[in-house]
Amino acid sequence: MSNSGEIWVIGEQRRGRLEEVSLELLSKGTALSQSMGVTLSAVLLGDEVEEIAREPIFHGAEKVYLLEDARLRYYQSEAYARLLAGVIKEHEPQIILIGATEIGKELAPRVAAKLRTGLTAHCIDLYVGEVNGAPHLIHVVPGWGGNLVMHIICPQRRPQVVTVKPGVLPKAVRDENKKGKIIKVKPDVRDEDFSRIETVEMVEEPPQGKALESADVVVCGGWGINALGDFSKVQELADILGGVVAGTRPAMDKGWIDEARVIGQSGKTVSPGLFVSLGASGAMHYTTGFMGSKVVLAVDQNSQAPIFEMADIGIVGDLREVIPCLIEELKKDRMPRKF
């Protein structure tokens, strides 16, 4: 670790709006910059995005490097990667944080490979810690077998680049009184950036039905639902709780839910008030998808399942009995009460 070299957050904007994950990265970036005693900066690429360039400052950045050009309106694979790598080489930040969005997951490896440097995917936490007596930035990523995580470090090459899954870290607090500097960088956009590959259209569709990410209650079924034959009881429980239904990857493989409703490392991250896990053993690949939930209720027949380590409330039992019983119990609440 070094006390020179900034920490950078690569801001992601779509249609002139800063993505939520950028605010999450800024909160972690602020904490790291304070513990390391270095500057936190953000980088923003786009067209006419000056209006939102103050947002990273309001959320903790001291500087914003702004690269504006009409041709950078949409994410453009080669132009974005080349320009970012260029500004990184010029200013030599030591740590770069990128949101593991659909675009970030493509951009981060392109940039890191251009710089021949280290890249760690979908971190769930980052902090400065000691490894063999020396301070390092610890990249915490989900591991195998229950509630184990792996610590990854990037000992030598700089900058070290990490992606962080959206929805895992808390958002930075907005404060309009915060002051910072916007540094306009004239991007050297070239025709050849678009000659091999070009984004021609970007269509954003509001999600159908109730959005998983903003639901107050999420009821998630896993492999164990097999014992019930289908997903109807999971849906019923979700309905009665006023929540939305989701599933694990094995549940998707069974055809019970579509990919947009898979919870976990390679799926969605949710942080509802109540997360109900039904018949899932609790591999880290899955549990990273709901870590931020206020209360977790887990039901599984195996009392040794790691899911109970990740739950506030556990019910060990046969899903065929417990789920209908839960539905009945919650129905009682709907009955008019006598006084």
Binding site: W144, G145, P250, G314
Partner: protein
């Protein structure tokens, strides 16, 4: 002349057996003894897409994998699906690779081949799931690349328009070959091997290359070529209450509902 199509595949543990995989806390080694291995599910979609493009424009499909000797099984299965030849990159020098070192290994192997037009990868693996090797490989090869590919439309055999997934929506990207595409499960339904195609596997070419065969400098592959490394495995303290409800099913359920209300969950 047709197209030279490469498909990168990885042998992974079967997702149904993930709960049997353990991490050795001391060494950080992944213990997957007795866990069956399969072709990474999205890589089958990548192969299917390669086979369809070959059927349309003619050409050759080569499947390539870096892995231990047993990864040859995955390549044989790919040959049974219809690929023309397999290349296994197998050397102790490749062990311990992070995604950049893996991309480097694939890069040196692909550089050794005469020519390629299209490279297909699965968008991510079910085990580590980083989705990084595809874009890193494209960068090293200096070719355009798209992740999250849901649909591919050919203009002619040198230009493509692909639809790629966004969180809520999609992007359309136009690109010129040679290119690398990382595909999602939306793109197609992978075929199953036929009795006929399984019989043909033995006649197909299987190449095994070590580090020296592909001219990979030792400092660019395996553990040595990896900028990142594991620093240990730890128990994750979720900070949850871990209260197990007791009693009959009715009692457990009643207590659980009362408890989550008390905690202000709903």
């Amino acid at each position: 002349m047709g197209l030279e199509i490469l498909v990168c595949i990885k042998q992974v543990p079967h997702p149904d057996h993930f709960s049997e995989i353990r991490l050795d806390v001391g060494s950080g080694r992944i213990i997957r003894d007795g866990v069956p291995a399969i072709i990474n599910p999205l890589d089958r979609h990548a192969l299917e897409e390669g086979l369809r493009v070959k059927e349309r424009f003619s050409g050759r499909v080569t499947v390539i994998s870096m892995g231990p000797p047993q990864a040859q099984k995955a390549l044989e299965e790919a040959l049974a699906m219809g690929a023309d030849r397999g290349i296994l990159l197998c050397d102790v020098a490749f062990a311990g690779a992070d995604t950049l070192a893996t991309a480097n290994t694939l890069f040196y192997a692909i550089r050794k081949l005469d020519k390629f037009d299209l490279i297909y990868c699965g968008n991510e693996t079910v085990d580590s799931g980083t989705a990084q090797v595809g874009p890193q490989l494209a960068e090293l090869l200096d070719i355009p690349q798209v992740s999250g590919v849901q649909e591919v439309t050919f203009g002619d055999e040198k230009t493509l328009e692909v639809r790629r997934a966004l969180e809520h929506g999609y992007m359309k990207v136009r690109l010129k070959l040679p290119a690398l595409l990382c595909v999602t499960r939306d793109i197609n339904r992978p075929r199953l091997p036929t009795v006929q195609s399984i019989m043909e596997v033995a006649q197909k070419e299987m190449i095994i290359w070590k580090a020296k065969d592909i001219g990979a400098p030792p400092e660019s592959v395996g553990l040595k070529g990896s900028p990142t490394c594991a620093a240990g495995v730890y128990e994750y303290k979720a900070g949850r209450r871990r209260e197990i409800m007791q009693g009959s099913t009715e009692e457990k359920v009643h207590r659980a509902v009362a408890r989550f209300k008390e905690l202000g969950a709903i």
